[in-house]
């Protein structure tokens, strides 16, 4: 295609298209850029300029302030714990659910597939699920955050499709001839060949755990078990609503307000840090996951 000569009309099309794409990309990126710039700026000077494109009066005071905040550390510790345990359970369970469904000889495959996918479209709802967790006695514990969502049907389908399309049947057959059991076949032969999709799953589930707040909002009652997102909600949402309603009273009030504004930006950066660092490296994996998922199974 690249060798085809372009007419002036095509060249114009290309130029317009490229300009629009760049404009859209900048609009999509700017909010994130703004937060990063604001977090390293002097809180009093963030709003001096029309659009922040460079740090205003570079300072890291806001970061110092969040390091002194105990809640953030508790939140960070809990989130890391929930994310690691939760993701490990997710990946393990998804593999167990997806592998048999990917085998053509699996008798009853359609029944299981129907039962699993049905849950995607009809669920008991918030309260019946709450009551189940209550009767299991797992409220206000790590288990209520990691077990009820152990398998995402969407991810299960992606994984099944991968097994179906990427693991040659001959491999399975030869292993059977050697007297290999299903269990050993899965863990010794299939999984080592499935590392790309396992990486994708770890990322999908991991990001989900890291970012979730609602389950903890309904199920967690002890403050020292709150994940980071709940503390973020207090700082970013609840306080902000108060600020929007509040009226400035004295000189110091506005000073305090400004310092608090600064903390908001730095905390957004700090909470998204793991992803911000890994993002450029991980993007290839994300795209791969989507590609596998796009092949409709």
């Amino acid at each position: 295609m690249d060798t085809i000569k372009q007419t002036p009309g095509e060249k114009a099309f290309e130029a317009v298209n490229l300009t629009l794409v760049l404009l859209i990309t900048i609009i999509l990126l700017y909010p994130l850029l703004f937060v990063i710039l604001a977090s390293v700026s002097d809180p009093r000077r963030i709003y001096d300029t029309f659009l922040l494109v460079w740090p205003q009066g570079f300072n890291l005071e806001s970061y110092k302030a969040i390091f002194e905040n105990g809640d953030i550390w508790i939140g960070y510790r809990n989130t890391i714990l929930y994310t690691t345990v939760g993701t490990a359970i997710n990946v393990f369970m998804t593999i167990l659910g997806a592998y048999p469904l990917s085998r053509r000889r699996f008798y009853g495959k359609n029944v299981f597939t129907f039962l699993f996918t049905f849950t995607m479209f009809f669920s008991g709802g918030l309260i019946p699920t709450y009551l189940v967790n209550q009767s299991l006695g797992i409220l206000n514990s790590i288990w209520v955050l990691v077990l009820p969502g152990a398998i995402s049907v969407f991810n299960l389908i992606i994984m099944r499709t991968y097994f179906q399309t990427q693991i040659p049947v001959e491999l399975e057959e030869s292993a059977f001839v050697d007297g290999c059991s299903d269990w050993r076949l899965l863990f010794k032969i299939v999984l080592p060949l499935s590392m790309p999709i396992i990486a994708v799953m770890i990322l999908f589930y991991g990001v989900g755990h890291w970012n979730s707040y609602f389950d903890s909002l309904i199920y967690m009652t002890d403050r020292d078990k709150f994940p980071l997102q709940l503390f973020l909600r207090e700082i970013l949402i609840k306080n902000s609503m108060q600020d929007m309603l509040g009226v400035a009273v004295d000189e110091q009030y506005s000073q305090r307000m400004m310092a608090r504004e600064g903390i908001k930006y730095s905390i957004v950066v700090a909470s998204s840090l793991p992803l911000l660092i890994l993002y450029p490296l991980l993007s290839k994996f994300f795209e791969k996951g989507i590609l596998v998922g796009a092949i409709k199974g």
């Binding site: 009551l131 077990l147 269990w183 970012n211 997102q229 909600r233 795209e287 796009a294």
Partner: protein, 322 residues
């Protein structure tokens, strides 16, 4: 391998009689025993956290009392439903739920398709991958942080958007104080988060279109627009249909975690949706039965819509979910 093939052929349906068939099933089950053991944990997971809750749905028709349990609580029929339908704000909630959803679909379905088409027309591969990677970065921001960032931008005193408005001689708008802005804020900030990621799926689908179709169109003298219209779009049509049915099927479940975060007493008139109402009556006020009834109403309407749209897509000769 040979032995297994024999079993496969022997399984062919025959009118040989019931007991023979039963023995056949037994054989099949035995042969797959390893796979059943592997799938067992996943199966029990679905039973406990997806099917057991279905049993609890009955409290929507009961007066649930924790001491009596789900089974022991007295039946009250449709009392909770009629109470819900008769609340004076029922129609407001329904209008908000459908309004926000449909608005979101109208914006959210075509936008990523258009963006993917635009990406697809960029010739420099490297540039294309860079802009695409940037475009889906907001997808990985948590909803709490996303709403936080939205608040930074719309703040009446310090927000960037009001900065721009005053710059051009307008007067600052207090977006959160005026309920009429809520839908726009919700939908467009949602698009910011979702457009790049959704376009990625279409890009993947476009990569699967055989290049000879483009070549043939080119030889036939089709212009750039014609090639997009007659080759690219039909090529990704099945993906468009599947994703549309999926999002229409979720029409009643407005991004409820986000609505909850953006809700204030001031914008309640435009921001209360069925799911937030269900959350408040159930979790906050502990009216379990009433909340379960609200939730069931929501789920049933949703499920009917999904089946309906799937049927329409099927009839139109397009792809369908099942």
């Amino acid at each position: 391998m040979d032995a297994r093939m024999e079993i496969q052929t022997a399984r062919k349906p025959s009118a040989e009689g019931f007991s023979r068939r039963l023995a056949e099933i037994g054989k099949q089950l035995k042969r797959n025993i390893g796979l059943y053991l592997i799938i067992a944990p996943a199966f029990f997971y679905f039973v406990i956290w997806h099917f057991w809750p279905l049993y609890g749905i009955q409290i929507a028709f009961k007066d649930y009392m924790p001491a009596l349990g789900i089974t022991g609580s007295p039946w009250v029929g449709l009392e909770h439903f009629t109470r819900f339908f008769r609340t004076f704000f029922f129609w407001d909630i329904l209008r908000n739920t459908l309004g926000i959803s449909v608005y979101g679909l109208i914006v959210g379905i075509p936008a990523p398709i258009i963006l993917a088409l635009m990406f697809n027309e960029i010739r420099t591969k490297r540039l294309r991958s860079v802009v695409q990677t940037i475009s889906y970065a907001p997808h990985f921001i948590s909803v709490v942080v996303a709403v936080g960032i939205l608040f930074f931008f719309i703040s009446p005193t310090t927000g960037v958007i009001n900065g721009i408005i005053t710059r051009f001689g307008g007067s600052p708008i207090d977006f959160m104080a005026n309920p009429s802005h809520f839908w726009h804020l919700f939908v467009w900030s949602g698009l910011w988060q979702s457009i790049g990621w959704s376009s990625l799926i279409y890009t993947a689908a476009m990569a699967g279109i055989p290049p000879d179709q483009y070549e043939a169109a080119y030889i036939d003298g089709a212009s750039r627009f014609r090639r997009i219209w007659h080759v690219t779009l039909p090529g990704i049509m099945p993906t468009i249909m599947i994703l549309s049915i999926m999002s229409i099927g979720g029409v009643m479940n407005v991004g409820f975690e986000k609505v909850l975060l953006m809700q204030t007493d001031m914008n309640l008139a435009k921001s209360e949706v069925i799911s937030t109402y269900m959350y408040k009556s159930g979790i906050v006020e502990a009216q379990y039965s009433f909340s379960a009834a609200v939730g069931l109403f929501n789920n049933v309407v949703n499920f009917i819509l999904l089946i309906l749209f799937n049927a329409i897509a099927k009839r139109a000769g397009q792809t369908s979910l099942w």
